[in-house]
């Protein structure tokens, strides 16, 4: 009956409705006759004595009150309104044999056919509906009183297990993918790092460094966890350091981690010498660890030097070979020209160039971003020597890393003995001719576009990504950076090997006994020097090319038709 006490626990399927379907008259006897049966105890419990429910003596007392209670209630309900299914809207009077039982699953007045309820619940639980609800398996709530509608479902361990496994797999998908990708990256980086070590140190030293990795696992740690901890304790430097090698290589071609780069090798250097003493000696020749820890500083110094001294010139040369570069060259000589004007000129020029050639676009970005550098370069043109300029110039936005304090005053000196000797060969070369010639030939610059030339500057520009290049990240320059960084150790090693053959034997071979006496006697020393040499020579060559292109650009002449092909009929030429 719909009106049965609402506090009846919803979980118990009701015994009464099936009997109540036909008529109230029939219902009563059926009910009373079944009363001693256990199925009724939920009603009896609620209606009078809760404590007596379980015991035998209660039965006699139970019999009377329920019958009295239910009869008037039932009649009242029948009189007022027949029960009406809130889902199909049919009421009790229309029930026939096919109609399913009535259920009242919640405290409120909503009653429904079991079949209707099950249909509705199935719809609510349908996968699409649940997914839209946000993946929550979801309680079924009565739409009116919002209390939960509970079902008794046959339990099957297999079904439950499989379904929960499915859910688990679903939720583990994304973390699993991330884990797989992370592991793959880690492994790749570790391999690249191992390769780098072999390249730089040579097989013997590399084996010594990597020895812990090749040792059979220690049987002492009985469980996997213990073994893992033990392994980590002894090998964390390799576990962490190897993948960091390619990362550092790539990052050192950008300026992203400049502030941290100098400190990165420290934890791996400090105290790493326990096993291999010779790597941690603080003497001449410096130990490998010390040298490598020094590399970021050397890099910072070199980059700072390059940026102060060469980048402005490079930019100027690049600018000169662009169409109509002569337009603002006239300004170069006049130091009084306000800076704003200069900027404007350059900007205008940039926009003009946009139309001319696609290759120029990147170039122009760079020029616009690097205005100040450019302007200082122009000052510099006035005959001030290079390293003085470095001191004199107002602070130029460079050297963001900790390298800054180091590189400021002694730009040239530092580079001389630390980095590469090569780097100084080109400077005089260019110094001798560069600025002077610039001025001599400024006028000759025509507005003639140089169709092929812009292509070239675009290429070498990527080789070292400087801060101002941050805006121009294209996928090709990205892959350039990454592959270049990863292949760099091999190049360094190759140059190192070349050095071994080129330099006197006593420099590059270890003494027969005792420790090494020269920096280049170990392979790593040669590799590192080789890498530095390579960078220096490469930059020098590229700078020379840049300068030469600018020179040649100015010296171009358009050949007269008559002169070259004077014998052919005149006047028909297109000139």
């Amino acid at each position: 009956m719909a009106s049965l006490p609402p506090q009846r626990p919803a979980a118990f399927p009701r015994p009464s409705p099936s009997a109540a379907d036909s008529s109230p008259a029939q219902e009563q006897p059926a009910r009373t006759s079944s009363f001693s049966a256990t199925s009724v105890d939920s009603e009896t419990l609620l209606l009078d004595s809760p404590s007596s429910q379980t015991s035998h003596p209660a039965q006699a007392a139970d019999k009377a009150p329920p019958t009295q209670q239910e009869e008037p209630q039932g009649e009242l309900q029948e009189d007022a309104e027949p029960r009406k299914c809130w889902i199909c809207f049919t009421d009790e009077t229309e029930d026939d044999e096919t109609t399913s039982e009535w259920r009242s699953p919640c405290p409120c007045v909503l009653v429904a056919h079991e079949k209707c309820l099950l249909d509705w619940i199935a719809d609510m639980e349908a996968p699409t509906a649940r997914r839209r609800a946000g993946g929550k398996p979801g309680k079924i709530l009565c739409p009116q009183c919002k209390s939960e509608i509970r079902l008794e479902r046959p339990q099957s361990i297999v079904v439950d297990t499989v379904r929960s496994a499915e859910r688990w797999v679903d939720s583990a998908l994304v973390p699993g993918c991330i884990f797989a990708i992370a592991t793959a990256t880690y492994t790749t980086f570790s391999l690249a790092g191992t390769h780098t070590i072999y390249e730089i140190f040579g097989t013997e030293d590399a084996l010594q460094i990597l020895r812990p990795l090749y040792q059979p696992p220690n049987a002492k740690g009985s469980t996997v966890a213990l073994w893992l901890i033990d392994h980590l304790r002894r090998n964390w430097r390799l576990d962490l350091g190897l993948p960091l090698i390619p990362f550092t290589l790539i990052m050192s071609r950008t300026t992203l981690v400049d502030p941290f780069l100098p400190f990165l090798p420290l934890p791996f250097v400090a105290g790493s010498g326990q096993a291999h003493d010779q790597f941690l000696q603080f003497s001449w020749p410096p130990s490998a660890a010390f040298t490598i820890a020094l590399l970021p500083y050397i890099r910072g110094i070199y980059n700072g030097y390059y940026k102060r001294v060469w980048a402005p010139r490079e930019k100027r040369w690049l600018k000169q070979i662009q169409p109509r570069a002569g337009a603002d060259d006239a300004d170069d000589r006049d130091p009084q020209i306000p800076i704003e004007d200069e900027n404007e000129v350059q900007e205008e020029e940039g926009h003009d160039d946009d139309d001319d050639d696609d290759n120029n676009v990147e170039e122009i970005d760079r020029i616009e971003v690097a205005f100040d550098l450019d302007i200082f370069a122009n000052w510099n043109n006035g005959g001030v020597a290079d390293n003085q300029a470095a001191l004199e110039n107002p602070p130029v936005p460079i050297a963001r890393g900790p390298a800054h304090p180091l590189d400021a005053p002694p730009v040239d000196d530092d580079d001389d003995h630390e980095d590469d000797h090569d780097d100084h060969e080109p400077p005089p070369l260019v110094d001798a001719q560069g600025p002077e010639h610039n001025h001599d030939h400024d006028h000759e610059d025509g507005a003639a576009p140089a169709p092929n030339v812009p292509r070239q500057p675009a290429r070498p520009r990527r080789r070292r990504v400087r801060p101002e290049d941050g805006i121009g990240w294209s996928s090709s320059s990205l892959s350039d950076t990454i592959f270049g960084a990863l292949i760099f150790p091999s190049i360094a090693a190759a140059v190192g090997e070349a050095l071994r053959h080129a330099l006197p034997k006593s420099w590059v071979t270890l003494p027969a006994y005792g420790k090494q006496t020269g920096f280049l006697q170990a392979r790593w020393g040669r590799s590192i020097l080789g890498g530095c040499l390579f960078v220096g020579v490469k930059d020098a060559v590229l700078l020379y090319v840049r300068w030469k292109m600018a020179q040649n650009h100015r010296k171009r002449t358009v050949l007269d038709y008559e002169h070259s092909k004077g014998k052919q009929k005149k006047g028909a030429g297109r000139v």
Partner: protein, 152 residues
Amino acid sequence: MFASKRLGKELQKLHEKLPPGITLIQADDLKEWLMDIQVVDSNPIYQNEVYRLKFMFSPDYPIQAPEVVFVADETHPIPWHPHVYSNGIICLDLLDRQGWSPVHNVESVCVSLQSMLTSNTKKERPPGDENFVKHNKQRPRDINFVFHDNQV
């Protein structure tokens, strides 16, 4: 069978008695009905206008929500409302899969829409209306509305 039985019941009741402002226009079959609604109080936005609603019932009707849209013709405009697109599609949670439950029926939907209009003070369309109207090919029931506004 399920739907027709229930719709028969509802129709019977609709013929008997209807709340003010709601009129049954057409219920020839058990698939598509037309209802007219009017805003009874004096909301200036909807004064003297009658809006026509089209109900479309699926065979699982009370279990599944009906599709309810406003239809426009010469005498029946689409009402201005921040949840009613100009093509008549209504963004109302009780018409969505999640908000619908079989306790609702044609009459209650009409009453809900009526009160939705009554309480509205903004004469505007939902954001992105133009775009939606131009590009929407989905049926209303397949659109995933995000119900962010429980006030209106």
